[in-house]
């Protein structure tokens, strides 16, 4: 007689971290010319999938900031999109200089941008705080000289009107 395999959840409850759709996008350091394209592509995918517009708006702001961070500070990186049943999880990892003091970098107005980056309208020191403000879960890990891994989640019906 076979026993049903026990599950960790009560029957009928949906697994909320199940990845329904995933896609990975490459980001090239210093490629200002194509800056923002990954964020735009992700936005187009989520629109097709029918995510609420407010969630797409918040995620697009976060994705754009994260993408530009890789372009400005890293040699290369990637943005991994994971569509969950009621949320979107994004992981942006890069091979780059890393962030020596995350707490400092998380404060508004703190930036290590070069004058050249500032001339392009970046480097106001709002990137990371902006990503955190627009996401419902936020996590950052960084190793100096190795790179940074940024992970954030936007709920389909989270932080309305933020």
């Amino acid at each position: 007689m076979t026993q049903p395999i026990p599950t960790s959840r009560p029957a009928g409850e949906a697994k909320t971290d199940e990845v329904l759709y995933g896609e990975s996008f490459r980001i090239v350091g210093n490629d200002f010319e194509h800056g923002g394209e990954v964020a735009t592509r992700v936005k187009a995918i989520l629109k097709q999938l029918g995510f609420p517009t407010d969630a797409i708006r918040r995620l697009s702001i976060a994705n754009f900031e994260a993408e530009m961070n890789v372009i400005m500070y890293a040699a290369e990186g990637s943005l991994e999109l994971a569509v969950l049943p009621t949320a979107v999880r994004v992981t942006v990892s890069d091979r780059g200089q890393g962030i020596p003091d995350i707490e400092w970098a998380m404060q508004e107005g703190h930036s290590t941008a070069t004058p050249e980056m500032r001339a392009r309208g970046f480097g106001a020191g709002l990137g990371l705080p902006n990503i955190r403000r627009n996401s419902d879960e936020f996590n950052i890990e960084s190793t100096v000289g190795v790179g940074t891994v940024l992970r954030y989640v936007v709920y389909a019906n989270g932080k309305a009107g933020s």
């Binding site: 923002g36 936005k43 097709q48 999938l49 029918g50 407010d54 708006r57 702001i61 569509v83």
Partner: protein, 430 residues
């Protein structure tokens, strides 16, 4: 079938079913089926691109006709400022207004002073607004449609001040009714338009319950009769009410040139609009206060229903500015009192009209997205548009939405045919 409100119709006699318009359409709203270009009302922004590229004159604007004037006891023509730029650099706005009366309108009403009023009202609005920034001008109706369809999140950025043409029509109808003792409905207010988007904005207004205008004649249609009238009777109407500051609105950059707020920018042409609006959505333009944006490359002077080329038109306008001097008419106190009366306010909420997702259910939408990705692998990616859709990706989208079939692709059909033939030949030799 619901009542069609769009300003461009396909002439079935003239359309040969080539795919030029379909490929040029910036919102991918056109499909060619059974040798006929069909416009998807949900996606069309009435920009007029299809009309401009059609070599067979098969995309026609739905303009008013002289018969429409007969429905009213009294008719008023409100010309777009662009009309003044059509007839050569020596021409004065007063001559164009005079000629308009001569060809059949009971009166003409210049809107340049209302443009100046709206510049003042926008300044006042910007100084009191709390964001979100930047604020975006609502002058260009094609742009407004684009925001509803593609950038619904930017609706709170739109300046909630009605356009000069609508405000001028509202005001003038009221005054004419009082002066002539007519019922407002007996007065016909007609705009002389440089573009199709304005025609659509009259039939299906955004930010208004109903338009204050009753119809629109195209500059191109009236150009001949006006020119003839000017030659026969070169008179001029008084132009005391023409504002040169307001007149600048005819060109891209003109709206902000008449405003006090200098932290603004002009975005010209659809390609640049998309570039900038993608970034406004991402939050990177929030240090700018105001954006004046046009789907046409130089603003209204480059509208699809004009006659003079946009470069000539701008030269003509520059000359008119020089001749008229720096004529400004609007008193700040007047703008403030009208603001208090809510004269400039939108009369209806602007609704988002986002493009439908692949499916309502997320899992189903993902399944269709995968199906679409798989179809892209099978399609040739030549974007030849022979299937009737403008490119392979749009065909794939149509297929998963049930609006087209894979066999619509000529390359796929050819491949199948070749496979069949080689299978037959293989059979012969076995």
């Amino acid at each position: 079938m619901p009542h069609r409100t769009h300003a461009i119709v396909t002439d079935k006699e003239k359309c040969i079913g080539c795919v030029t318009c379909s490929m040029a359409c910036p919102t991918k709203a056109i499909r060619v089926r059974s040798k006929l270009a069909e416009v998807d009302d949900e996606l069309c922004i009435d920009c007029g691109t299809c009309m401009e590229v059609c070599r067979y004159d098969a995309m026609r604007p739905r303009t008013s006709s002289p018969a429409d004037l007969k429905r009213f006891k009294y008719t008023v023509a409100l010309p777009s400022l662009t009309l003044y730029a059509q007839f050569g650099k020596e021409l004065h706005p007063g001559q164009a207004l005079h000629a308009l009366r001569k060809i059949g309108f009971d009166e003409t009403y210049d809107i340049s002073w209302m443009c100046e009023m709206v510049m003042g009202a926008t300044d006042a609005y910007l100084s009191e607004s709390t964001g979100p920034w930047p604020k975006i001008s609502v002058t260009c109706p094609a742009l407004l449609r684009l925001v509803q369809i593609r950038y619904p999140d930017l609706i709170p950025h739109l300046v909630p001040i009605e356009t000069p043409r609508e405000l001028a029509a509202k005001l003038r109808r009221r005054r004419v009714a009082a002066e002539k003792g007519l019922d407002p409905a007996e007065i016909g207010m007609f705009f002389i338009t440089p573009c199709t988007a304005i025609i659509h904005s009259i039939v299906a207004p955004v930010g208004l319950e109903a338009s204050h205008l009753d119809g629109a004649f195209s500059i191109a249609d009236l150009y001949g009769p006006l020119l003839k009238s000017m030659k026969e009777d070169p008179g001029s109407d008084p132009v005391d009410s023409v504002s040169v500051r307001g007149l600048r609105w005819a060109m891209a950059g003109g709206e902000i040139s008449g405003m006090r707020n200098a932290n603004s920018m002009t975005v010209r042409g659809l390609h640049d609009v998309i570039y900038v609006f993608d970034r406004i959505e991402a939050g990177t333009f929030s240090s700018v206060d105001f954006i004046e944006a046009y789907i046409c490359p130089d603003g209204c002077v480059s509208g699809g229903l004009t006659v003079a080329g946009r470069y000539t038109a701008q030269r003509n306008l520059q000359e008119a500015y020089r001749l008229l001097g720096d004529q400004t008419l609007v008193k700040e106190e007047k703008v403030r009192s009208l603001l208090r009366e809510h004269f400039f306010d939108f009369e209806a909420e602007i609704k988002a009209r986002p493009v439908r997702p692949l499916a309502r259910d997320l899992r189903e939408a993902i399944a269709l997205k995968r199906e679409k990705d798989a179809l892209m692998e099978r399609l040739p990616r030549k974007d030849c548009a022979a299937c009737g859709a403008p490119d392979c990706e749009t065909l794939a989208d149509d297929i998963v939405r049930g609006k087209a079939q894979l066999s619509d692709c000529v390359f796929v059909r050819l491949e199948a045919l070749e496979k069949e033939r080689s299978a037959e030949q293989g059979g012969d030799h076995d």
